[in-house]
C-alpha cells in the first residue's frame, strides 16, 4: 500500500517575518545604549554633507551658505571689488571644508553653480548640473560594485540642492519651473526665496502661496517629498512645513551689528537693521533648523535610499541585469565557487563600464520612479 506522501511543502519564496515578542522587560537590559554607541561612532568617523546652491548670480547664495554654517565656506564669486565676468556656460565648483562642533566633525562640500540663468539664452542650462549629480551617483555605484570595496565609500553625492528664487513678488519664472521639473526627481530640492528683505509681510505670504500653488500645479515635488513620509508623525510634521513655511524666505549676512546691546548678524539700512536670526524679520532660522538641526540625516537617507537607488536600478535595468556570458557559463561549469564569484563581479563591473555614458539623462526622461 502506497502511503500518500504529502507533497513537500514548497519552500516559501520570502523568508517568514520574525515574530516580534512584545514582552514586558523584567529588568533593564541596556538596549537603548545603542544610541550612545552610534553617537560615539559618528563622532569618531565624522560624516559628509554635500550641499549644492543654484540660482542667478547676485541672489546671495554664497552669503547664505556662509551664514548657515557660520563660517566662510563659500568664496563669494564677486566680493564687490573684484572684477569677475559671468561665465558663458554653467560651471560646477565644489569646495570642501571640515567643520567641527561639539566634537563632531563634518566634511562639508559646497557646490556652486556660477553662470546658471545669467545668459540671454538659458535653454538647457540645467544640463551640466544634472550631469554632475549623475556623475556623483555613478562614482558611488562604481565603488559599490567593486570587488575590493573601501570600508567607507567617500560620499560625493549631492544631498541637498538649495534653489534660489528671485523675489519678484509675482510668481516663479519659467526657468525656475524648468529647472525644478527636471531635477526634483534626481536630487532633493529645497526652494528658497532669496533676498527676502525686499518684501513686506503681506507680499511675502502672497508670494509664497502663489509659488506653492505653482509648484503643485506643475507636479514638482520638493523636499520633503510627500511620498517618502514614513509615518504619521513625519507626515504631520512635514505637512506643516510644506504647507506653511516653505519656500523659506531668507536673508543672509556675514556682518554683525549692535542691536539692543547684542551683536547680531544682519543688514544695516537707513530705515532699520534687518536681523538674520530674528523670526519676525526673515525665515533664516527656520531654514537652518530644518536643514541642519532636524533633517540633515533624513536628507542623506533620502538621497541614498531613493535617488541613488533609482539611478542604480535604471543603470542596472538598462543592461538587462547581469546578462549571461557564454564564456562565463563554460568557466562556471569548470571552476569552483571562488572563481565564479570573481568572474561574476568582474563581469558586472565591466558591464557597467561598457554601457552607455552616465551623462545621459537618467532621472528626468522617465517620469515615473521605478518602484521604490
Amino acid at each position: 500500500m502506497s502511503e500518500l506522501v504529502p507533497e513537500p511543502r514548497p519552500k516559501p519564496a520570502v523568508p517568514m517575518k520574525p515574530v516580534s515578542i512584545n514582552s514586558n522587560l523584567l529588568g533593564y537590559i541596556g538596549i537603548d545604549t545603542i544610541i550612545e554607541q552610534m553617537r560615539k561612532k559618528t563622532m569618531k568617523t565624522g560624516f559628509d554633507f554635500n550641499i549644492m546652491v543654484v540660482g542667478q548670480s547676485g541672489l546671495g547664495k554664497s552669503t547664505l551658505v556662509n551664514t548657515l554654517f557660520k563660517s566662510q565656506v563659500s568664496r563669494k564669486a564677486s566680493s564687490w571689488n573684484r572684477e569677475e565676468k559671468i561665465p558663458k556656460t554653467v560651471e560646477i565648483k565644489a569646495i570642501g571644508h571640515v567643520i567641527e562642533e561639539g566634537g563632531v566633525k563634518m566634511k562639508l562640500t559646497v557646490i556652486d553653480t556660477p553662470g546658471f540663468g545669467d545668459q540671454i539664452n538659458n535653454e538647457n542650462c540645467w544640463e551640466p548640473i544634472e550631469k554632475y549629480i549623475n556623475e556623483q551617483y555613478e562614482k558611488f555605484l562604481k565603488e559599490e560594485v567593486n570587488i575590493a570595496r573601501k570600508k567607507r565609500i567617500p560620499d560625493t553625492r549631492v544631498h541637498c540642492c538649495l534653489y534660489f528664487i528671485s523675489p519678484t513678488g509675482h510668481s516663479l519664472r519659467p526657468l525656475d519651473l524648468e529647472f525644478m521639473k527636471h531635477l526634483s526627481k534626481v536630487v532633493n530640492i529645497i526652494p528658497v526665496i532669496a533676498k527676502a528683505d525686499t518684501m513686506t509681510l503681506e507680499e511675502k505670504s502672497e508670494f509664497k502661496q502663489r509659488v506653492r500653488k505653482e509648484l503643485e500645479v506643475n507636479g514638482i515635488e520638493f523636499y520633503p517629498q510627500k511620498e517618502f513620509d514614513e509615518d504619521l508623525e513625519d507626515k504631520t510634521e512635514n505637512d506643516k512645513i510644506r504647507q506653511e513655511s516653505m519656500p523659506f524666505a531668507v536673508v543672509g549676512s556675514d556682518k554683525e551689528y549692535q542691536v539692543n546691546g547684542k551683536r547680531v548678524l544682519g543688514r544695516k539700512t537707513p530705515w532699520g537693521i534687518i536681523e538674520v536670526e530674528n523670526l519676525n524679520h526673515c525665515e533664516f532660522a527656520l531654514l537652518r533648523d530644518f536643514v541642519i538641526r532636524t533633517h540633515l540625516q533624513d536628507l542623506k537617507e533620502v538621497t541614498h535610499n531613493i535617488h541613488y537607488e533609482t539611478y542604480r536600478a535604471k543603470r542596472l535595468n538598462d543592461n538587462g541585469g547581469l546578462p549571461p556570458n557564454k564564456k562565463l557559463c563554460t568557466s562556471l561549469k569548470r571552476s569552483g565557487e571562488g572563481f565564479i564569484l570573481k568572474c561574476w563581479e568582474q563581469v558586472s563591473h565591466r558591464q557597467l563600464v561598457l554601457t552607455s555614458d552616465p551623462s545621459t539623462n537618467w532621472g528626468c526622461k522617465s517620469s515615473s520612479r521605478t518602484g521604490g
Binding site: I120, S166, I274
Partner: protein, 390 residues
C-alpha cells in the same frame, strides 16, 4: 536793459519782474513778454509725453509709475503665472492717462513691455521694442511729409526708463543687449528698481559698476544738460548731485504709512522699519521725479525730436537715396518720379496708392516753389552786391 511791461497785472509774479509804472511803459517795447505768450499757448495746447518702461518683470516698474504720477494706471493688470509665461512672447502695451495739475494738462502715454526677459530663451526679445520705437518715428515722418500737418499726433517715445535688477552685480548680458539696441533711438534713463534691497554701500558700489559698464559698452544714456551759468550756486550743486546719482536707485509705493507720532508718509512698512519713498536718504525717487517731470520733461521731448528723430530720418532717407536700394517697390517709385523729387520713406502696404501719389504731387509742387524762391533770392543778392560795390 529792457524791463517787463506791465504784464504783472495779468500773469502774476514773474521771476525778476520789477515793479512797473506807467512812465516806463512808454520806453519799452515789451517783446520780453514773448516767453509768456508761448507759455500761454502751450498751456492751451497741452503737452503730450510718451514714457516707456522696460525691464524684467518683478522689478517694481508699475509701482514706480503709479508713485511718480500718483495715479493707479495698472488697476486691471493680470500678471500671468510662470507656466503661461513660458510660451509668451513680448508684447507692447500702451496706456494713456490725462493728468492735470495747476491748470496744465499732460496727456501721458505709458508704453509697457510685459514679457521682457521672462522666458528661458530671451534671444532677440528686444526686437519688438526696437521695431515699435522705429514705427513711431516712421509714423511721424509720414505725418510730417504729409498734407495736413496741423494736428500731428506725436506718439514718439520720448523717454525709456530701463529697470536694472538690484539683485545682480551690475548689468546682465540681457540688459547690455537691450540698451545697445535702443540707446540711439530713445532717451534711456537707467534706474535700479526695488532699491530697498540694498544697503547704502552696496548701492554705491552697484551704481559705480553700472556706470563703468555703460562706459565700457559705449551705451549713450540720456545726458541731463548742464545748468545755465547764471543759475545760483545752490541750484548748480543740486543739479550736480542729481547727475551724480545716476542710475537712480528707486523705491516706489502708493501706500501711505502712518507710524504713530510721525507724519504720514508714502512708503513700505517692514518689521524692521519703514522705507520712505520721498526721503532722499532712503532712495533717489525724489531726484528721479524732479529730473524727469519737473525739470527735464521738455528737454526730453526736444532731444527726441532734434537728435534721435533727425538721426532716424537721416538714416531712412539716406538708405533710400542709395543706388542699391533693394526694395523693388521703392525702386519703381523712384523711377516714376523725376530726379528732383524728394524720395519718400517706404510706406507700408496698408496705405493706398492714391494717397501716395497725392503726396508725391504735393511734394513736387513744393520743391518747384522752393527752387523758384531760391533763384529769386540769389538774383536779389547778386543785385544787392552790385549796388553795394557801386
Amino acid at each position: 536793459m529792457w524791463k517787463m511791461k506791465g504784464l504783472k497785472r495779468k500773469w502774476g509774479a514773474t521771476p525778476g519782474a520789477a515793479t512797473t509804472s506807467t512812465a516806463m511803459d512808454k520806453e519799452y517795447v515789451g517783446f520780453a513778454a514773448l516767453p509768456n505768450q508761448l507759455h500761454r499757448k502751450s498751456v492751451k495746447k497741452g503737452f503730450d509725453f510718451t514714457l516707456m518702461v522696460a525691464g524684467e518683470s518683478g522689478l517694481g516698474k508699475s509701482t514706480l509709475i503709479n508713485s511718480l504720477f500718483l495715479t493707479n494706471l495698472y488697476e486691471d493688470r493680470q500678471v500671468p503665472d510662470a507656466s503661461a509665461r513660458t510660451t509668451q512672447t513680448l508684447t507692447i502695451e500702451r496706456r494713456g492717462v490725462e493728468i492735470e495739475e495747476g491748470g496744465i494738462k499732460v496727456k501721458l502715454t505709458l508704453v509697457d513691455t510685459p514679457g521682457f526677459g521672462d522666458s528661458v530663451d530671451c534671444s532677440d526679445c528686444w526686437l519688438p521694442v526696437v521695431r515699435f520705437i522705429e514705427e513711431q518715428f516712421e509714423q511721424y515722418l509720414r505725418d510730417e511729409s504729409g498734407l495736413n500737418r496741423k494736428n500731428i499726433q506725436d506718439s514718439r517715445v520720448h523717454c525709456c526708463l530701463y529697470f536694472i535688477s538690484p539683485f545682480g552685480r551690475g548689468l546682465r548680458p540681457l540688459d547690455v543687449a537691450f540698451l545697445r539696441a535702443v540707446h540711439e533711438k530713445v532717451n534711456v534713463i537707467p534706474v535700479i528698481g526695488k532699491a530697498d534691497a540694498l544697503m547704502p554701500r552696496e548701492t554705491q558700489v552697484l551704481k559705480q559698476k553700472i556706470r563703468d559698464q555703460l562706459k565700457e559698452e559705449e551705451i549713450n544714456i540720456y545726458q541731463f544738460p548742464e545748468c545755465d551759468s547764471d543759475e545760483d550756486e545752490e541750484f548748480k550743486r543740486q543739479n550736480e548731485e542729481m547727475k551724480g546719482s545716476i542710475p537712480f536707485a528707486v523705491v516706489g509705493s502708493c501706500e501711505v504709512v502712518r507710524d504713530g507720532g510721525t507724519r504720514p508718509v508714502r512708503g513700505r512698512r517692514y518689521s524692521w522699519g519703514t522705507v520712505e519713498v520721498e526721503n532722499p536718504h532712503h532712495c533717489d525717487f525724489l531726484n528721479l521725479r524732479r529730473m524727469l517731470v519737473q525739470t527735464h520733461l521738455q528737454d526730453l521731448k526736444e532731444v527726441t525730436h532734434d537728435l534721435l528723430y533727425e538721426g532716424y530720418r537721416a538714416r531712412c532717407l539716406q538708405s533710400l537715396a542709395r543706388p542699391g536700394a533693394r526694395d523693388r517697390a521703392s525702386r519703381s517709385k523712384l523711377s516714376r518720379q523725376s530726379a528732383t523729387e524728394i524720395p519718400l520713406p517706404m510706406l507700408p502696404l496698408a496705405d493706398t496708392e492714391k494717397l501716395i501719389r497725392e503726396k508725391d504731387e504735393e511734394l513736387r509742387r513744393m520743391q518747384e516753389m522752393l527752387e523758384k524762391m531760391q533763384a529769386q533770392m540769389q538774383q536779389s543778392q547778386a543785385q544787392g552786391e552790385q549796388s553795394d560795390s557801386l
